[in-house]
């Protein structure tokens, strides 16, 4: 098995897939959004308790692959207690990372555990929407939208050079 695959399906990802954190409904949630990736069928609901500008509580429920599930799980850990502005800043950084636009060397400083877990996703073009789905769903919830999808998130696949 290649090193690249082991990096994609790393121990942190596997741990969060098998034991997702904040995997429940928040009964008192005042924001909630449904995220759906039609290409693979991944689906999740992000629940949020927004108090003023602070994400007081955040959780999710859903069905998906290891990447989307662990991404959702780690997202809830990373955002609980953050302000809306902080959450959006982390969203931006995460998005830049999964489309391969963040410098790998400074990654751990910028995104910590998230960087360690998902720093290699950009090498697997087809998996970028999986990692992104929970985050786009979270942002939709933050903005009061009830639905979002991420089939088309990600960089264009580089075309192999024509060969004869």
């Amino acid at each position: 098995m290649s090193e690249e695959l082991r990096e994609l399906f790393n121990e942190v990802v596997k741990d969060h897939e098998k034991k997702p954190r904040n995997f429940h409904r928040i009964e008192t949630a005042n924001r909630k959004s449904l995220g759906h990736n039609r290409t693979c069928g991944d689906m999740l609901v992000v629940y949020m308790q927004l108090e003023g500008e602070v994400v007081k509580d955040i959780s999710f429920l859903g069905e998906g692959c290891s990447i989307s599930k662990s991404s959702a799980s780690m997202m809830t850990e990373a955002l609980k207690g953050k302000t809306r502005q902080e959450a959006e800043a982390i969203f931006d950084k995460f998005h830049q990372m999964v489309i391969g636009k963040l410098d790998a060397e400074t990654l751990p400083d910028q995104l910590g555990k998230l960087g360690k877990a998902f720093g290699n996703v950009h090498k697997f073009h087809a998996r970028v929407p999986c990692a992104s789905l929970p985050w786009h769903t979270m942002r939709a919830a933050l903005e009061g939208e009830e639905m979002t999808s991420t089939e088309h998130v990600g960089p264009a696949l580089p075309q192999p050079a024509a060969s004869e």
Binding site: E4, R6, F9, K14, C40, D42, F124, C130
Partner: protein
């Protein structure tokens, strides 16, 4: 000119192929240029044939010949190129007719694929003959393309959709079929082979039972056409729909076969050029079949390509090809059954080409990524058959689907890749 001569030479070579016994898979693979490439540094193992089958050189060259030497609009010009294009296009229709054993070529309507063909029947037949309280019968294992159009019709007309259920092996329960058939049934719509399970459905039995009640039957032949010898008269189905890209032809090609008397009494589908007889501002009259259903300029190159794909299939020993596919399926089924944690979805007695499975606790999308890394192309998802997923209570499956150009060595690579999935993620 050189390319043309080369093509004629290719045609001659393949005419002589397949006379002997057995199946020379190495030689057949040479006909498919796409199979020779590497993916992630590994040889491509293409096991996604149920989604789209690969295209042999003769089809690529025929389409390219059209674009190089014949490209022009059909059924219009008196000029030389238009005559040649028309004759190639209508020649392809003749080939289709013989391939499926239709009574007449005009019973073969060119469409973009099964989805368009089913929608054509829904609009042309369904909207004309189905009313409030009527019923349409589909099966539990239908692809969305043979389900959603009928739901749309039922919603529009206040009609009712009835479902033939299946058992846990993925076989239709024919006794239940009898129970849903009644005097309100207007159409039965069922797949020949399930793309999600591989089940071959007993179409002759289904048409016999439906016809006893005077009900016509539409067969989704997307998976049937590439994997079975077809005879629509023997099946006695009223409509049979084919997608070219699943039978070694380009995308955008396909056929709706319909019995002439049914096609004639149907409403047209799309309106526009080619499908009319006369047009005034007061009214238009429509052309006879098949033109009535072929409005606008069709996918000429693709449909000519479909004709070439039929030539190619006819040049093979088709029985040996199908036997080889069957052997691959049996071999892969045996091998994967020995892998711990794997459950096969779809274990019907009559099966073709499709091996769908799940692995405990591992999502099919993750399996697909690891297999892709090993150069193995499979489909991971719900296969546009969500009710099938609901029946087996799984969100999705991983599906390997075989064609006659696949090899046992490729099955071995696929199985090793599945084992490594469990190593990495189990």
């Amino acid at each position: 000119m050189i390319a043309t001569e080369k093509m004629i030479a290719t045609e001659k070579t393949i005419e002589h192929r397949g006379a002997g016994s057995g199946w020379d898979v190495a030689r057949v693979r040479e006909d498919f240029p796409v199979l020779g490439q590497t993916v992630n540094g590994k040889p491509l193992v293409y096991l996604d044939n149920a989604a789209s089958a690969q295209v042999p050189r003769i089809v690529i060259e025929r389409g390219s010949k059209y674009l190089r030497e014949e490209h022009s609009n059909i059924h219009r010009g008196v000029h030389y190129l238009s005559q040649r294009a028309t004759s190639a296009y209508e020649g392809a229709r003749e080939k289709v007719k013989r391939f499926i054993n239709a009574r007449e070529a005009r019973e073969c309507i060119f469409v973009r694929g099964v989805t368009e063909g089913v929608n054509l029947v829904m609009h042309g037949y369904g909207r004309k003959f189905v009313g409030e309280g009527d019923e349409i019968v589909v099966s539990e294992m239908e692809h969305h393309s043979n389900l959603v159009p009928w739901q749309m019709l039922c919603e529009e007309k206040g009609a009712r959709l009835r479902v033939i259920p299946m058992n846990d092996a993925g076989e239709l329960l024919l006794d239940e079929f009898d129970a849903v058939l009644n005097e309100r049934t207007k159409l039965v719509c069922v797949g020949h082979i399930s793309n999600a399970l591989g089940t071959i459905n007993p179409i002759k039995e289904i048409t016999a039972r439906a016809h006893k009640m005077g009900v016509p039957v539409l067969v989704d032949g997307a998976q049937g056409a590439p994997h079975l010898a077809l005879d629509v008269q023997d099946l006695d189905c009223d409509f049979y729909v084919i997608s070219g890209h699943k039978m070694f032809a380009p995308t955008g090609s396909g056929v709706l076969y319909g019995k002439a008397e049914l096609l004639e009494k149907m409403n047209p589908f799309l309106g526009g050029g080619s499908m009319i007889r006369t047009v005034t501002f007061e009214r238009s009259t429509y052309a006879a079949i098949p033109d009535k259903f072929e409005a606008g300029t069709p996918a000429i190159a693709s449909q000519i390509g479909l004709g070439a794909a039929i030539d190619y299939l006819n040049s093979l020993d088709r029985a040996a090809a199908l036997a080889h596919e069957h052997e691959l399926l049996a071999y892969a089924t045996e091998k994967i059954s020995a892998v711990e944690g794997v459950r096969i979805i779809g274990t019907a007695r009559e099966k073709a080409s499709v091996l769908a499975f799940v692995i405990d606790e591992i999502h099919p999308h993750d399996i697909g990524t690891i297999l892709d890394h090993e150069g193995v192309a499979v489909r991971a998802g719900h296969h546009c058959a969500q009710p099938v997923m609901q029946h087996f209570n799984v969100p999705a499956t991983t599906r390997a689907s075989f064609a006659f150009y696949n090899t046992k060595e490729e099955v071995d690579i696929f199985i090793r890749a599945v084992e490594s999935v469990i190593e990495v993620l189990g």
